[in-house]
């Protein structure tokens, strides 16, 4: 979905009446398009105004205790994870990196860059979408290669969008296998070097965060790729955040199975 198509749907999106399929496509676009994202946030705030215009109703007094109790129950510590799976082989990461390079998608080309004089934002948006599409295809090819070596492997991928005031982008890939250690690959682009080191976390649906990597170095354009293995099962984590040295979130995004993300 390109910028004009997304802008066309944003009012209905803000008012909560687009179907899930369109909402997913719009959210995917908003993850990397800062201009549309700003428009979306403004419209969402306007739409949320409606909620407070309603004549107040009075909930029963005991509802508060029920709500607090319900949240408290589900936020209780989870049972210990199942015993460690068989560890050893580390397939995937090297193959993926090699495949991406082979696909001609160096770091600078993987993610949007802003070299040279200012150009039409619509052209930038189009180029970004094109690059994102190429990135997606390269990932798919790379995953096929990894799967050939480890048929039990599962891959989740996602793009990382910047928080306000940060002009950066990123992408993430997790590889989970029954027979080998789970692995994480993170690409970042245009991160400020003065905010090193960056910490990379995976977050599960309950809000539990797990540090998976640390970015200690960036090239002169603020780009790098970090990859590593994780001493735990990553399958329950569906979101990644990147914090700068000050602890502020600078990048974040959802991860979804590669087969559904294309």
């Amino acid at each position: 979905m390109n910028c004009p198509a997304v802008r066309d749907r944003l009012p209905e999106h803000a008012l909560g009446v687009v179907d899930h399929h369109d909402a997913t496509a719009i959210e995917r676009h908003l993850a990397w398009c800062a201009a549309c994202r700003k428009e979306a946030r403004d419209l969402e705030r306007a739409a949320a105004t409606m909620a407070f215009a309603l004549a107040p109703a009075y909930p029963p007094a005991e509802l508060g205790d029920r709500v607090i109790g319900a949240v408290g129950r589900v936020s209780a510590p989870a049972p210990a994870p199942t015993p460690a799976r068989r560890r050893g082989r580390r397939v995937g990461v090297t193959l993926l990196a090699a495949a991406l390079v082979f696909a001609g998608l160096g770091l600078g080309a993987l993610l949007a860059r802003r070299d040279g004089p200012p150009i039409d934002p619509r052209i930038v948006a189009s180029q970004q979408e094109d690059r994102a599409s190429k990135f997606g295809r390269a990932i798919e090819n790379a995953i096929e290669t990894a799967t050939a070596n480890d048929p039990g492997i599962r891959a989740d991928i996602g793009t990382l969008a910047p928080t306000r005031g940060i002009d950066a982008s990123g992408a993430a890939l997790t590889l989970m296998s029954r027979d080998s250690e789970d692995q994480v690959v993170v690409w970042v682009n245009r991160l400020p070097r003065e905010q090193l080191p960056y910490l990379v976390f995976l977050v599960d649906s309950r809000g539990n965060a797990f540090e998976v990597s640390r970015i200690n170095r960036l090239d002169r354009d603020g780009n790098t790729m970090v990859a590593g293995t994780a001493a735990r099962n990553l399958s329950r984590f569906d979101r990644m955040i990147v914090r700068n040295a000050g602890g502020r979130i600078v990048l974040s995004g959802s991860l979804a199975p590669a087969s559904q993300s294309g």
Partner: protein, 173 residues
């Protein structure tokens, strides 16, 4: 939000005390029964806890984030139960001028909302209300009123921008 993430009772209670009533109000007005409104309220705060790590105060206000969760869950429930969303309608222009709540926060939020909505014409209020409170899509409204889809979309966007500008005026020191 860190307290919410940690499941801290005091943090959850503070959040509920501030937003419990508007969330319940949303449930009651859209879903039409106290039982459904109570279930919705519980679901909203559970969802907020699950998504707390995703909330970024630099991207928007907590009230916007939470009420968006509430509205989305309410509309989802309506669609799931009825196939289409046709909530018990409370049009904006049918809302009494004097709020019945007593908490300062609710009064302020409602006052701000009514001021922002006052910038809309009656037709614009009705249009937004049909979408937000009844869950009608732009296409459904276009078909019902016999006007071009593009016209409905343009009017919707224009109305939301008016509200946004009214909010911006309010936020200026």
């Amino acid at each position: 939000m860190e307290g919410l993430l940690a499941g801290d009772d005091a943090a959850i209670r503070a959040l509920y005390e501030r937003f419990g009533r508007p969330v319940y109000t949303m449930g009651l007005r859209l879903l039409g029964s106290r039982e459904a409104a109570e279930e919705l309220t519980q679901d909203v705060f559970l969802t907020a806890w699950r998504k707390a790590a995703r909330f970024d105060p630099q991207r928007g206000r907590l009230s916007t984030w939470l009420m968006t969760i509430a509205h989305n869950l309410a509309v989802d429930r309506l669609r799931r139960e009825t196939g289409v969303s046709r909530p018990h309608l409370v049009l904006v222009d049918e809302v009494p001028d004097q709020p019945a709540g007593d908490e300062e926060f609710i009064l302020m939020e409602r006052d701000e909302a009514l001021r922002a909505l006052a910038s809309l014409s009656m037709a614009e209020k009705r249009l937004i209300a049909r979408v937000y409170f009844r869950g009608m899509t732009a296409r459904e409204i276009a078909e019902a009123d016999g006007i071009p889809l593009g016209t409905v979309k343009t009017r919707l966007r224009s109305a939301l921008i008016k509200v946004r500008r009214a909010n911006e005026t309010k936020d200026q020191p």
